[in-house]
Amino acid sequence: MGIAMKDMEKKISELYGRDAKLSAVPEESKLNVGYKTKEKGLTEKLVREISGVKGEPEWMLKKRLESFAIFKSKPMPTWGADLSKLDLDALTAFVRPKGKENEPTKWEEVPKDIRKTFDVLGIPEAERKFLSGASAQYDSEVLYKSLRKNITELGVVFTDMDSAVKEYPELVKRYFMTRCVPAKDNKFSALHGAFWSGGSFVYVPEGVKVPSPLQIYFMMNYPGFGQMEHTLIVAEQGASVQYIEGCSAPYYTRDSLHSAVVEIFAGKGSRVRYTSIQNWSRNVYNLNTKRAIVSENAIMEWVGGTLGSGTTMLYPCSMLVGRGARAEHLTISLAGKGQVKDTGAKVLHMAPNTSSRVVSKSICRGGGLVRYRGLLHVGKGCTGVKANVRCDSIIADKISVAETVPVIDVRSSDAVIGHEAAVGRISDEQLFYLMSRGIDENEAVSLIVRGFIEPIVKELPLEYAVEMNRLVEMEMEGAVG
């Protein structure tokens, strides 16, 4: 999500007719395809084709094939959201965007049609204004990436995952789907391990503090597509970095899948903030696995807004493995008509004196379903643990559903744990008070909702906070009355 998004929704609607109505699948020639895999269905041959097209080393192909075997052996999950209509074999798993073969190094070298899309999203403007580095992925691969020279000189690496496999093989071998999110973790991490493409690799050396955020924007344009980018962030001892992801897609008549894996290694005393604003179109199944391993005295912060997609299953996880490690999970989830948001947070306290805070704010309307699903685990011998979970929901009408399923598993006698959840409607009294002060009903609803999500929005960079408020307001339009 870029900063110049004042009219993003309007412009996206102009470009694609997003959410106003389903867009018919355009002609292949208008989809900016540079290369598309020939193999139909999810097969071993397809795994080999993707790896071959990318020119990957043998060890990565081996890893992909191992993941594929795991994927085939695991059943589809039967808990959470209904995935029975998701036809994995109907997906196109790899689409290389037009212009990728030229490896653009300047924004002007990106093909005009694609550039126009990212211009609308404000990517180049954001890069100029406040980012240390910016990257843009179109369908399967990153088409544009940049990192400020002064940041490069500090030894920071910010590149796409495909390049990292070739340029930093030792680091990738060490961290890529090994102990943070192994392929065997779940059906979709195994799928990802076999068919992943694109994403980011961030490496911040010891003691380096990246002054402003790194950002990547994902665009999923091809109809019936499976985007599976991989994000790997390694912050060494004492380092700090803020990473931001945004995403969007046109609303086609064919379902798409977004199955990302995010792995974060927060070294001793480091600080990592991962921000994600998800605004996929409503034909997208958004099934991700995001996890961080947090070392001694390190701080891991997850800040997220889940606004789009039809079905989302997302539970960012912090494994606090070092003494004094800390995790913060701050999320907003919004479900409108036809949307299912099964989201939450997992925190595993696996060392003494670790602490965590989870704040989840959900809003549902128009028959949408929001479900908070969380896990708070305190291991045996983990003394001095403090954890707090707060999950609140607003149900804007009589046909929407809000659920909470938090699991609290404590095996340490001196842990101090708090969990609180509240579900309710927009208060008539608050509405009446605001309206008695001359504020019209829609504006009053907007003010109340802004207050509700404020604890999370205030953690976003200003430009994102403004945009988040605006997107939520748009979703809430006509929610009352």
Partner: protein, 239 residues
């Protein structure tokens, strides 16, 4: 299955002591009131299964107290459903020691409008006891103006004890007030210090805090429940 029916307009109060598996069906007719306490004091070498199904009629009120003290492994299943204008206060108290295990499932259904419930669960686990609780509050579509709140609090009294709590909430209508909470903490050092400064030694202080924690609610049959809890506390080491 023992059937307990409270007729319309009647008010009853009963204490049910059990030392083995038991099953209760509680029916409150419209406008009835009842307070029912079920105390499980089964021998420590016996596995127990307890089932309670309560149906609360229109404008009636039930106070249900479950007290889990005995049994080697206790499986407790409580299902409560409420009609229009009904009220339910549900207290669960458990004090486990040694290798006792408690597997408790409660399902609280608000099926109709203007139903009100408060559920307060207190668990204390000593020795290598394990508590596994799943509490589900569901407010059905159309149960407008329902008001439900569920709180589970736990004290772990030893390093080997384990508590797992899953407080679930499912709300299918907009015009409700609903919430849940869960908390776990050790015996407060501040409270112990305060009591010691008043001349109460550590063991007695811990006992007082534990008793206050478990029995912090009001009921007509409080003295019977208290007596059962105190008997169990008397057999605990380290107090």
């Amino acid at each position: 299955m023992k059937r307990i029916s409270i007729a319309s307009g009647k008010e009853e109060c009963m204490l049910l002591q059990t030392t083995s598996s038991a099953s209760y069906s509680i029916m409150l007719a419209d406008g009835a009131r009842a307070e029912i306490a079920i105390v499980n004091s089964a021998p420590a070498d016996k596995d127990v299964e307890l089932k309670v199904e309560a149906k609360i009629g229109k404008n009636s009120a039930l106070t249900l107290i479950g007290c889990q003290l005995g049994g080697r492994e206790t499986k407790s299943n409580v299902k409560i459903s409420q009609k229009t204008g009904s009220r339910c206060e549900h207290f669960e108290v458990a004090l486990l020691s040694g290798s006792q295990r408690l597997l408790a499932r409660t399902e609280h259904l608000h099926n109709e409008p203007k139903s009100f419930s408060r559920s307060s669960f207190r668990y204390a686990a000593a020795g290598s006891a394990q508590v596994n609780v799943q509490g589900n509050v569901e407010i059905a579509r159309g149960a407008n103006s329902a008001d439900a709140h569920f709180v589970a609090k736990s004290l772990l009294l030893s390093r080997e004890a384990v508590v797992k709590v899953v407080p679930m909430l499912s709300v299918k209508t907009g015009e409700v007030t609903a919430g849940h909470g869960a908390a776990m903490a050790p015996v407060s050092a501040d409270e112990l210090f305060y009591l010691e400064s008043r001349g109460i030694d550590g063991a007695e202080g811990r006992r007082m805090i534990l008793e206050g924690f478990l029995l912090g609610f009001e009921a007509k049959q409080m003295s019977d429940v208290r007596a059962a809890v105190e008997r169990k506390m008397g057999g605990l080491d380290g107090f």
